[in-house]
C-alpha cells in the first residue's frame, strides 16, 4: 500500500491549495459578487467539467487529479464546481459520448458556464425502481417527435430550461430496454405542464411534469432511436465513486458531537451517555469505512479495471448515515426535537428536526437501499434475479 502522490499530483494539489488560499479566505461572505468571481476563476482554470475532454471545453484531468480537486474543495467547504448540477453530473457526459457535433456545440458550453439548469425526466408514476418499464409515449411525425405522458419526482423541473427525457418510441419491442429513446427538450415547449409537489418537510423541490402533444424536433434526439437506455446508463455510470462525499458526512457527525456535548438532559451531558457515545463512534467508523472503500475503488480505477457494482456498498452506507445521523440528533435532543422552527425550547432553530426529514432525497433518489441490495446480491454475489 502506498498513499504517496506522484510529483505531478503533489504539484497539482499545491496548485489547488494555493488557489483556495487566495480565493477562499477563512472568513468571507458568499455574496453574489463573490460567487460570480469564484465561478469565473474556476471556469478559467477548467475545473468545471474537469474530467471532460479538453476539446469540448473540459479540463482533461486524470482520475487522480479529479479526486484531488474534489477532495481539496470539499475539505475547505468551497462552493460547488459549477452550478448546472445535473448537466455536469450526467447530461453533459451523455451528450459528449452520444451527441452530434451540433448538440455538443449547442449545450456543452452552457452547461460548463452554468447558464441554466437541466432537469431529468426519467421516473414515472408506475416506473420508479423499475425504470425500464417507462411508458411515456413518443411517436414520429415528420421531422418531429410527439410526446404524450407523465414524468414524476423531477427535481427542479420548475427552474430548469432543459430536460433530458426518456420516452418509449417502440411499444412492441421484445425487451423493455429496447424501445426507449432519449430526447433533449426545452421546458418552454408548448404542451409541457409542470406541477410542483410539496414534500414532507414542506418544501417544493420536485415536480410532476405532464406532456400533452409536445413536439420535439428529431434533431433533439440524443443517440439513436431505441438507444435511450444505453445512453442513460452509461452517463449515470460516469458518476464516479466520490471520496469527497464523506467530507459532508464528517461535518455532520462533528455537528452531532457538538450537539451531544452541549445538550444536558436529566442532569446529564449527553456526550457522556454510553449509548450515544457508541452510536457516534459507529457512525464515525462507517464514514471512515466509506472513505477507505472509496480509496479501494479508486485504486481499482487507477489500475485500469472497470468499477462494478461495488459502489453500491457506499450508497448503502450513505443511506444508513443520512437517516441515522438525523435520528441520533433527535435522540440526543429528546422532547425538544419534536418542535419545529419558532418554538422557544427548540435547539439550533429546529434545524435538526428539519434535517431529519431531508434524507429521502438522497436515500430514495439514487436508487433505494433495497434496490442497492438487489444489485449487490445479483451482480457481486451472482445470486439469481428475481
Amino acid at each position: 500500500m502506498d498513499f504517496q502522490l506522484s510529483e505531478e499530483e503533489e504539484a497539482f494539489r499545491n496548485e489547488v491549495r494555493g488557489f483556495l488560499d487566495d480565493n477562499l479566505p477563512e472568513s468571507h461572505e458568499r455574496t453574489p459578487d463573490f460567487l460570480t468571481n469564484w465561478s469565473k476563476q474556476i471556469r478559467e482554470r477548467r475545473w468545471v467539467g474537469f474530467s471532460w475532454p479538453k476539446d469540448v471545453g473540459g479540463g482533461g484531468g486524470s482520475i487522480m487529479e479529479q479526486v484531488i480537486l474534489k477532495d481539496e474543495m470539499a475539505q475547505r467547504k468551497a462552493p460547488s464546481l459549477g452550478s448546472c448540477f445535473m448537466g455536469l453530473a450526467w447530461v453533459g457526459p451523455a451528450i459528449i459520448q452520444y451527441g452530434t457535433e451540433a448538440q455538443k456545440q449547442k449545450y456543452v458550453p452552457d452547461i460548463l458556464d452554468g447558464k441554466y439548469q437541466w432537469c431529468t425526466g426519467y421516473s414515472e408514476p408506475d416506473s420508479g425502481s423499475d425504470l425500464a418499464s417507462l411508458k411515456c409515449k413518443c411517436e414520429r411525425d415528420g421531422d418531429d417527435y410527439v410526446v404524450n405522458g407523465q414524468k414524476i419526482w423531477t427535481s427542479i423541473a420548475m427552474w430548469s430550461k432543459m430536460m433530458i427525457l426518456l420516452v418509449r418510441t417502440d411499444q412492441a419491442s421484445e425487451s423493455k430496454h429496447d424501445g426507449i429513446t432519449c430526447l433533449l427538450v426545452p421546458m418552454d415547449t408548448k404542451g409541457i405542464d409542470v406541477r410542483p409537489i410539496k414534500n414532507m418537510s414542506g418544501g417544493e423541490m420536485f415536480a410532476e411534469v405532464f406532456f400533452d402533444n409536445v413536439r420535439v424536433p428529431v434533431e433533439n434526439r440524443l443517440g439513436e432511436e431505441g438507444e435511450g437506455w444505453k445512453v442513460t446508463i452509461s452517463a449515470l455510470a460516469s458518476e464516479r465513486s466520490s471520496i469527497a462525499e464523506v467530507h459532508g458526512l464528517i461535518r455532520k457527525i462533528d455537528e452531532v458531537k457538538n450537539l451531544a456535548r452541549g445538550t444536558i438532559r436529566a442532569g446529564r451531558v449527553m456526550s457522556e451517555d454510553p449509548g450515544i457515545r457508541r452510536r457516534i463512534a459507529q457512525a464515525e467508523t462507517k464514514i471512515e469505512a466509506m472513505r477507505l472503500n472509496g480509496m479501494r475503488f479508486l485504486t481499482k480505477q487507477l489500475k485500469g479495471e472497470p468499477l462494478g457494482s461495488e459502489t453500491s456498498i457506499n450508497k448503502l452506507h450513505r443511506a444508513d448515515l443520512e437517516v441515522g445521523l438525523g435520528e441520533l440528533a433527535l435522540e440526543i435532543l429528546g422532547s425538544s426535537a419534536t418542535l419545529m422552527e419558532g418554538s422557544e425550547p427548540t435547539v439550533d432553530g429546529g434545524a435538526w428536526a428539519k434535517y431529519s426529514l431531508n434524507w429521502p432525497e438522497v436515500v430514495i433518489g439514487g436508487g433505494t437501499p433495497n434496490i442497492q441490495k438487489n444489485i449487490i446480491s445479483e451482480r457481486m454475489l451472482g445470486l439469481p434475479k428475481d
Binding site: 498513499f3 485504486t299 428475481d386
Partner: protein, 377 residues
C-alpha cells in the same frame, strides 16, 4: 497511490491459497482439530509454512526472517482465515514483533531466529481474570530479587498457551496504574505452567499461563521495567489488527459458503437465493465484510508506518468486525435452515470462529468507546 496490494503480494496470496487448498481443506482441518487430544494445529504443516517463509515473513532478515512488512502478513492471514487453518501464526507474529520492536539486540538474537524458522512458537499473555483491556487488568506481580524477577499471577485467555515455547507476558511492576513490564517467559521455567481450555472454536487453541513464583532473569525484560504500558498497548493493537485481518478471510468464506448454498437449495420451486428475504441479508454481509476489510487494510498500514491515527484506525476495524462477523455467522447458519444446525455442514465452524474473534483483543463495546474517546468525546 495504491490502496491495495503489489503484484508480489498477490502472487503470494495465490501461493498460500493453493497450499491451503491442497493441504488444509475444511475436511482436513476437521480431521486435525477433531482428533482426540488434538493440539489444534498440525506440526508438519506449520513446519512447512515456516520453511516457505510465511511465519517469519515480517521478521528481520538478519534473524532468519524475510524482512517484509505487516501488509504481507495480512495477505497470508486473510487466506488462513478463509480456510480456518489452525495454527499459532498470529500469536507467533505478535511475540516476534514484541521482541523485534521492544527487545535489545541480544534479546532479538536470542529469540527471533527460533520464531522465524518455526521451531519455536511464541505468544502474548495479557488478560487476567478481570478480562479488563486496560493496565488495571494486569495484576500479575513482578517482584525484583537481585538480577531476577519473581512472577506471580495467572494469565487467562492466552492464545496457543499449550503450544507456546515462549510467552511475552505483561506484568505489574508497581502500584502506579501504568507501571507495567513486558517479560519473556520460556516454557519449562520453574513455576510457570501452561494448559489449554476447551474452546468452542475447535480451530483455535486458548489456555492459561499460571505463574507461581516463576523466576526469570532481568535480561528477559523487554524495554524498560515498569514503563512498558505503551508497548503493551501497541501489542494489543497489533493483535486486534491481525485478528481482524484473519476475520476478513473467515467472514468472506462464510458469505461464500452461504451464497453457494442459496444458489443450490430449492424451495417453493425456486432457488432460495432468488428471494429478497435471502439475498438482502447476504448483500448486507457483503457490505460489512468489504467495509471492515477496508478498515483493517488501513489499520495494518497505519501500524506499520507508526501513523498518528493508528490506534483509532485499529479500533474502528476491530469494532466493526466484532459486530459484523458474528452477525454474518448467525445469518449464515440461519439461511442454511436445519442443515446449518448440524455438525456436518461447515457453516457452523465459521459461526464458532466469529465467536472467538468477537472479544479477542477487545470487543465492539471496548473499541467503539475508544473511538469515541480518541475522537474527543
Amino acid at each position: 497511490m495504491n490502496f491495495g496490494f503489489t503484484e508480489e503480494q498477490e502472487l503470494l496470496r495465490a501461493e498460500v491459497r493453493k497450499f491451503l487448498d491442497q493441504n488444509a481443506s475444511l475436511d482436513r482441518v476437521r480431521e486435525i482439530v477433531e482428533a482426540p487430544d488434538s493440539p489444534r494445529t498440525e506440526p508438519a504443516l506449520w513446519a512447512r509454512m515456516a520453511e516457505l517463509g510465511w511465519v517469519g515473513l515480517n521478521m528481520p532478515e538478519e534473524h532468519g526472517g524475510v524482512g517484509l512488512d505487516l501488509e504481507t502478513t495480512l495477505v497470508v492471514l486473510e487466506e488462513t482465515g478463509r480456510s480456518l487453518f489452525p495454527s499459532p501464526l498470529i500469536s507467533t507474529v505478535i511475540a516476534g514483533k514484541a521482541i523485534e520492536r521492544f527487545g535489545s539486540a541480544e534479546q532479538q538474537a536470542r529469540w527471533l531466529p527460533g520464531l522465524a524458522d518455526g521451531s519455536k512458537i511464541g505468544t502474548f499473555a495479557f488478560l487476567e481474570r478481570s478480562d479488563a483491556m486496560g493496565p488495571e487488568g494486569v495484576e500479575t506481580l513482578a517482584k525484583p530479587d537481585g538480577d531476577e524477577l519473581v512472577l506471580s499471577g495467572e494469565k487467562l485467555f492466552v492464545s496457543d498457551a499449550a503450544l507456546a515455547d515462549l510467552f511475552v507476558v505483561a506484568v505489574r511492576s508497581g502500584s502506579d496504574a501504568q507501571s507495567i513490564s513486558l517479560v519473556v517467559v520460556e516454557k519449562g521455567t520453574s513455576g510457570a505452567a501452561a494448559s489449554s481450555f476447551d474452546v468452542m472454536d475447535l480451530t483455535k487453541s486458548v489456555g492459561k499461563l499460571s505463574l507461581e513464583e516463576a523466576r526469570v532473569g532481568v535480561d528477559c525484560v523487554l524495554g524498560t521495567q515498569g514503563a512498558a504500558w505503551p508497548a503493551t498497548q501497541w501489542l494489543l493493537d497489533l493483535g486486534a489488527a491481525l485478528v481482524t485481518a484473519e476475520a476478513v478471510g473467515s467472514a468472506e468464506a462464510a458469505l461464500s459458503i452461504t451464497t453457494e448454498f442459496a444458489k443450490e437449495r430449492v424451495q417453493f420451486g425456486e432457488q432460495i437465493g432468488k428471494f429478497q428475504g435471502v439475498k438482502h441479508p447476504l448483500a448486507e454481509i457483503y457490505v460489512d465484510v468489504e467495509s471492515f476489510r477496508s478498515l483493517v487494510y488501513y489499520a495494518v498500514w497505519a501500524i506499520d508506518q507508526d501513523a498518528d491515527d493508528a490506534q483509532v484506525a485499529v479500533s474502528r476495524a476491530k469494532a466493526y468486525c466484532s459486530d459484523a462477523f458474528p452477525q454474518a455467522g448467525i445469518m449464515g447458519v440461519q439461511l442454511h435452515g436445519g442443515v446449518g444446525y448440524t455438525w456436518e455442514y461447515d457453516i457452523q465452524m465459521y459461526l464458532k470462529r466469529s465467536k472467538w474473534v468477537r472479544p479477542m483483543f477487545g470487543d465492539a463495546d471496548y473499541h467503539y468507546e475508544r473511538v469515541a474517546r480518541l475522537g474527543d468525546l
